[in-house]
């Protein structure tokens, strides 16, 4: 059974960068990873250096628009599965799936139901699933992903970022999705805010499993719009993510 890790957090905290580095770390071993970009607002493919254009949103729309034109007795699950495999981007060591745009105004109960079945089957092909999820956790409430082993909330040094972590924890308790563990990773940590982050996390009862320092290499690449996937091993962020991956049992 694949281990499912969802990475989430407030916008701008670096959750996509952290997700990319976790994927980078995992592909160094022999684990087969499915990376899922479930945040319509972020750019996991770009950060990974992967060129992909089609999304689950597109194929859901296709199923919705074409349903009366498809042969009447065609197996729609098989069509949807084939379409999903078409948009699954195959990279060395990992596959990437982009959830994409939100649904239109029609009823997507049926398509989502088919999708749940296909995703359940697909997931069994991987050792680890890493999901870059928007803070609202929409795809979880829709049960496209059944359960989550580790929910990792990425925060920056601000109290607001940690508050988001707290809110996400509350949101999770309202979802019907099972989440086994909730962890926090602090990002863009400096010597000046390191202590305060630790104490705030403790005060809020959040389990802090890593503090990624500000990394000049990431800052430069972000500015240039370059992928983070091929950062060198001596990047300070990469090294901290390696420790985090160990703590997550990866």
């Amino acid at each position: 059974m694949a281990k499912i890790i969802a990475v989430t957090g407030k916008g701008g905290t670096g959750k996509t960068a952290t997700t990319s580095l976790l994927i980078r770390q995992l592909t160094k071993g022999d684990k087969v990873v499915l990376a899922v970009d479930a945040d319509p607002d972020t750019n996991l493919p770009e950060t990974l250096g992967c060129d992909t254009s089609k999304t689950i949103g597109d194929i859901k729309e296709y199923m919705h628009d074409e349903r009366d034109n498809l042969p009447p007795d065609v197996n729609k699950e098989s069509i949807l599965e084939g379409k999903l495999y078409e948009i699954l981007e195959e990279m060395p060591g990992y596959d990437l799936l982009v959830m994409g745009r939100p649904e239109g105004s029609g009823c997507y109960c049926y398509v989502n139901n088919l999708l749940r079945g296909i995703m359940n089957k697909l997931v069994t092909n991987y050792d680890v699933l890493i999901i870059d999820a928007e803070a609202g956790l929409e795809h979880f409430s829709r049960k496209i992903f059944r359960n989550v082993d580790d929910l990792v909330v990425v925060t920056d040094g601000s109290r607001r970022g940690l508050r988001t972590a707290e809110r996400i924890r509350e949101l999770v308790s309202e979802l019907e999705t099972d989440v086994s563990n909730i962890y926090v990773i602090a990002n863009k940590v400096t010597d000046a805010n390191r202590e305060r982050i630790s104490s705030t996390a403790e005060e809020l009862g959040l389990e802090l499993i890593g503090m990624i320092p500000v990394d000049e290499m990431i800052v430069e690449r972000d500015l240039a719009g370059e992928p983070l996937f091929d950062l060198p091993d001596d990047s300070v962020a990469v090294q901290e993510v390696e420790r985090i991956a160990q703590k997550l049992g990866l």
Partner: protein, 471 residues
């Protein structure tokens, strides 16, 4: 038996994905060509167990490359007939996925296969072993197949030659499939996917009636119920026919009772006024009775304006939805307009007076030719007055109903002369401009002859009412 094959065969390999990293070759798929086809043939034309390959075999293929692949199976047997072809063909997908190291996606001329490196290392070096395994499974699992032979083609020229024939066969099948009707089957399908929004909803999907959300047709219901009979789509035995015209069946009524927790015990599948189908929360189109013209209008989710009754889709949907049987309103899927049984117990298309233009254009070819110009859109009529004039100008068959009413009730006609909308004697209702909705009069369809009028949150202004004792 499986021992003779250089690979394992088991349903547990279904869903096995062969990634590019572990792939020996890719066959057909979105970047190449191919198809699968099952043909029924005479016993004399099928040599049982024979395999023919046209083009290179797996052992001749270059690792990491892509090749076209077509798979043709000829089946024969006393019970084999052309109608079974598609059922057998669909099993090719399932059975090929049972083979470890073989991935099969899609169907027909969209098929897409991959063979894994591991499988080739373990001895899957020829398509013959794959085809023999599939033929064995066909015969074991589908005992009506007495003889089967397989022809695999990996030669692009040959595939291009054959693919048009295959497409013609698919097309012919689709035409036959579209010709399937309620009377041809003994099982309908139910769906509870939206039961959380509409707890008393009874969704009945039949060959002539698509689900209200428009997503599930009878074949989808059948496919899903076969895989998981306890799942969200399940069989509803049709039972006995109570009335074929309105679509009332004992099996459906029993299911209605069960699924609505006793709220409803009768559903007429093709009726608008009497025991109509319940309306969930997901329907694509809502139909509404327009008493002033005794006709039915339809408005779809995408139409943002107001219907001639002064209401928007969202308002009517809010009142109708939730799994209720609401006389005077009916939620349907767009494809129901294509059904030959479309509200047939209430006059079918001859009862339809209004639709948004976009919706009308979408189903134009399915409207009987003589009715196409007679159904008004928002461009022809925005309110009841202009609708009435339009219908008169076009001599819409609904006029016959007005005449009947006039003849039957001459006195009322005289009495309501002062009203600006004389001509039809159904209760005149002033439609509220927003937020309010009167429930429609219950159509009791004869019997006691009584009329029940329920008005909720209604504003009614009447200049003059004359009530006379019946003679």
């Amino acid at each position: 038996m499986a021992d003779e094959f250089p690979f394992e065969i088991s349903p547990m390999f279904e869903g096995e994905r062969i990634r590019k990293d572990g792939m020996f070759v890719e066959l057909a798929g979105p970047k190449s060509k191919g198809f699968e086809l099952v043909r029924a043939a005479d016993m004399d034309d099928v040599e049982d167990g024979r395999f023919t390959l046209i083009g290179p075999d797996l052992s001749d293929m270059e690792e990491g490359s892509r090749y076209p692949l077509a798979m043709v199976y000829k089946i024969a047997g006393e019970l084999v007939e052309a109608d079974l072809e598609s059922i057998v063909e669909r099993r090719n997908h399932e059975f090929q996925n049972y083979i470890q190291g073989f991935m099969h996606l899609n169907q027909r001329d969209d098929v897409w296969m991959r063979v894994s490196k591991d499988a080739v290392e373990k001895g899957m070096t020829s398509f013959e072993s794959v085809a023999q395994a599939i033929m064995m499974l066909f015969k074991n699992e589908l005992p009506f197949i007495e003889a089967v032979e397989a022809i695999y083609i990996t030669d692009m020229d040959e595939i291009e030659k054959e693919i048009e024939n295959a497409r013609a066969v698919y097309k012919g099948r689709d035409e036959r499939t579209r010709d399937l009707h309620d009377e041809d089957v003994d099982t309908f399908y139910g769906c509870t996917l939206c039961a959380s929004f509409a707890p008393t909803n009874v969704c009945v999907v039949t060959p002539d009636r698509i689900s209200l959300c428009g997503a599930i047709n009878w074949f989808d219901g059948r496919a899903a119920a076969k895989v998981d009979p306890e799942g969200p789509q399940f069989a509803i035995p049709k039972g006995d026919v109570i009335d074929a015209e309105s679509g009332e069946y004992t099996g459906v009524n029993e299911a209605a009772k069960r699924l609505s927790s006793g709220e409803y015990d009768r559903i007429k599948l093709h009726s608008f006024f009497e025991y109509p189908h319940t309306s969930c929360g997901c329907f694509e189109v809502v139909g509404f009775y327009i008493p002033e013209v005794d006709g039915i209008g339809w408005v779809d989710r995408d139409f943002a304006g107001t219907a001639p009754n002064g209401l928007q889709f969202s308002t009517m949907a809010g009142q109708t939805g939730g799994g209720k049987q609401v006389v005077g309103f009916l939620g349907v899927g767009v494809n129901y307009f294509r059904s030959p049984k479309f509200i047939q117990s209430d006059g079918g298309w001859e009862r339809v007076v209004w639709m948004p233009k976009m919706l009308k254009d979408k189903v134009l070819n399915d409207i009987p030719e003589e009715m196409r110009d007679l159904v008004a859109t928002e461009e022809d009529a925005a309110d009841v007055d202009s609708l009435r004039n339009f219908l008169k100008d076009k001599n819409h068959p609904i006029l016959e109903r007005w005449v009947e009413e006039e003849e039957e009730a001459p006195e009322e006609e005289e009495a309501t002369e002062a009203a600006p909308q004389a001509g039809f004697a159904a209760p005149q209702m002033q439609m509220p401009t927003g937020g309010f909705m009167p429930s429609m009069p219950m159509m009791t369809g004869g019997g006691s002859g009584g009329v029940k009028i329920v008005l909720k949150n209604a504003k009614v202004s009447i200049e003059k009412v004359i009530i006379k004792k019946q003679d």
